[in-house]
Symmetry: C2
Subunit: 432 residues, 2 copies
């Protein structure tokens, strides 16, 4: 079938065979299908949808567009977690050492931040010397020796996704559940894992604003993974406010080390809870425990015993960072005060992420350079009481010229009401 | 608004402003909007549709992407006809001289054939010396001196359509009523005409197989033309079998000259009737007569008096052909016999067109060279009785190696039944 016939078939609501999808993706990856045909096809997919068989076929075709890691020689069960992203979402830095310390293998390939969302690679790079650009050999060696590696995607893994994502970004075809699902799952399955826990965000700072859309995407990803023989679980979790209290790379690393060290902070309880919960599910999927409850106990034990923090130090050393506590600190801080008294009614998550971005802590474009030192620390979250003039956040900054814009954005982000709202739930729903 | 925002708006079912559409079309024509964005937008238009205001805005933006002919200095009313195309559809060669002979100006810009359909320019080029590549100056001189010119589109007219059509052809975005409407109407309105009669085909050989789709497109084109101040009429006409009896350029010219000369042939009556009917509507729209009935009388008079044939000779001479009777003749003929006796129940029009194409009489690709001599003459049409072995068509061919494939296609095209079917109507419906 010619590409135009495949476009017409999808346009008219038809269902593709796995063969049709794989030939299209192969030809596009080779450069034999031009961008203008791929973008028309992806728009047809966005508006017509895909069956679960088609979505699985697309995921597999994208996965096979490059090399697929073969971890079968490595003894042990390999599990990973994927989050759809948000503001202050730093659970990877906590759960990877917990789960590796608990005896599973965590081959974690992560991304960078863009716009209001952060990325695990950027957070890791805030630690002096931390190298996320591992060769395949170094990646495998780290897995063999310490049970965990955290690195960026190499060019060999899923080249189809790289081309497709760049095209989707400029052709209005990002917001398609099957395309999102295939993009995420092809990359994760190319890691050669046995199980995957999904953290699908919903709320003001999430890609999926509505819980039902998040559930739909989560179910689709779970189905796709299971069709390909993987153990899968998904948690639908809240992103109506930043997770934890730190936004900005250095500050987020500090918050993670605090939790790995066993310290508690009321503004970080949601992050701690979710990190342990995701770890528990990873232990369960990986067959390390026979129930999620037992997984929770094991995760807590890894923190309480200090083994999780020790594992994080191992990861840092293996990837070139002598000391996880060496990160840059901003020159200045400024309080962001409440303009009126009352209760924090809502936090526009995206605005908080963008406030950090304008300080230099994020990226507008893919090649922007990040200032790891800058960011925010939240002192109040939804439901908390605040008096007029009381600081509800602290801004960490290097360039005073950027402060007013960040302050203005925080002003837009926080809404103070006279009544306490019903508190948000960290975990909205489990899809098992 | 950035192109990606326009794509997203249409994707989500929004309505574009005229300003949004014109900026998109202008930027695409300049090359500032890449093909992959335009194809995604056109797929969204195909699946989401357009309001009549959007369709009119698109038509106008495409029309203004190049030069628009200004015929206002030319005294007289300018009318044209557009057909959505079919097999054996040669009415232009008959009605243009009739209407010009009757006192209106016919500035006819036509296209070439592709696939199973023929094109007016190809038919005219079957006549030795006929030049369809007129400069704008020659085109205007012909209109001034003899009231008619028949030529191909110049690069200056509607460049946006040329780019868009090439892209639609390979991205599955041909079959969109608003895009078809804007493509046709932008070209016709760039001719600077006052009135336009549309011949919208329906049936097995037509682009719109279903009458309701043809009506929908016809109504859209009529509305668009009227919004732009033009006199408009549309006839929905039958393309369940070839029009007239000749398929193939030389043979079609011969059939037209026969009708212009006043001769009658039972297999050509549908063509004669439709050509006079379209002429009658053109006379009426152009204000030459006060009723369509009077238009019919005037058209018949132009044929009976010999003035239409004389006008056709004038057109030929003006465009370089000394004698309209000089066209190439094929070396061989072969009868195509009925395999069983009965009544012609149906004719797969596309197969007849493709049979002529495989003989060399049509184009698979835009730059194929046509053999004007080859083609078919039909001796039986729907409802006619045929005995087993009786010739139901004659094949005119130059290359004996191509004959078996053409015969096979004709075999697929004709279906003979035991009962006479209800005869097809030439004109299915008028939209006034």
């Amino acid at each position: 079938m010619r590409p135009v016939d495949l476009i017409r078939k999808k346009r008219d609501g038809g269902e593709h065979s796995a063969q049709e999808i794989s030939s299209l993706i192969e030809a596009f990856t080779r450069g034999d299908v031009p961008d203008y045909q791929m973008s028309a096809w992806m728009m047809a997919v966005l508006l017509r949808g895909m069956t679960s068989a088609e979505t699985a076929a697309l995921t597999e075709a994208m996965m096979r567009s490059g090399s697929v890691m073969d971890l079968s020689e490595l003894p042990g069960v390999k599990v990973d977690k994927h989050s759809t992203g948000g503001v202050g979402d730093k659970t990877s830095l906590i759960l990877a050492p917990i789960v590796a310390a608990g005896g599973l293998i965590v081959p974690m390939i992560s991304g960078r931040g863009l716009g209001h969302t952060g990325g695990t690679l950027d957070k890791l790079e805030a630690i002096q010397g931390f190298n996320v650009n591992l060769s395949l050999g170094d990646f495998l060696r780290a897995l063999r020796e310490i049970g965990c590696a955290m690195a960026g995607q190499t060019a060999e893994l899923v080249p189809a996704d790289k081309k497709m994502y760049a095209l989707r970004d400029v052709t209005g075809t990002i917001e398609s559940a099957p395309l999102i699902c295939a993009s995420i799952m092809s990359k994760k399955l190319a890691e050669g894992i046995d199980g995957l826990v999904l953290d699908v965000k919903t709320g003001s700072g999430a890609f999926m604003k509505r819980t039902e859309d998040a559930e739909h995407l989560a179910q689709m990803m779970v189905d796709t993974g299971r069709r390909m023989g993987k153990k899968m679980a998904a948690l639908i979790t809240d992103m109506d406010q930043p997770l934890g209290r730190a936004v900005g790379n250095s500050r987020e690393v500090a918050e993670c080390l605090e939790i790995l060290g066993g310290a508690r902070h009321p503004m970080s309880e949601d992050l701690r809870y979710l990190s342990l919960e995701l770890s528990a599910w990873m232990f369960h999927l990986g067959g390390r425990v026979t129930s999620v409850d037992a997984g929770r106990a094991l995760a807590s034990e890894m923190v309480a015993s200090g083994r999780a923090l020790a594992k994080f130090r191992e990861i840092c050393r293996m990837q070139g960072a002598e000391d996880p506590l060496r990160w840059p600190v901003a020159k200045f801080t400024a309080p962001f005060p409440a303009t009126s008294g009352g209760f924090i009614a809502s936090i526009q998550c995206e605005q908080v992420g963008l406030a950090s971005l304008v300080l230099g802590g994020g990226r507008n474009k893919q090649d922007d350079v990040i200032d790891h030192a800058v960011g925010l620390e939240l002192h109040k979250k939804i439901g908390d009481a605040a008096q007029a003039g009381e600081p509800i956040a602290t801004v960490h900054y290097n360039d005073p010229a950027r402060l007013p814009e960040a302050m203005r954005m925080l002003g837009e982000a926080y809404c103070v009401g006279s009544q306490p709202p019903s508190g948000p739930r960290v975990i909205v729903k489990n899809i098992i």
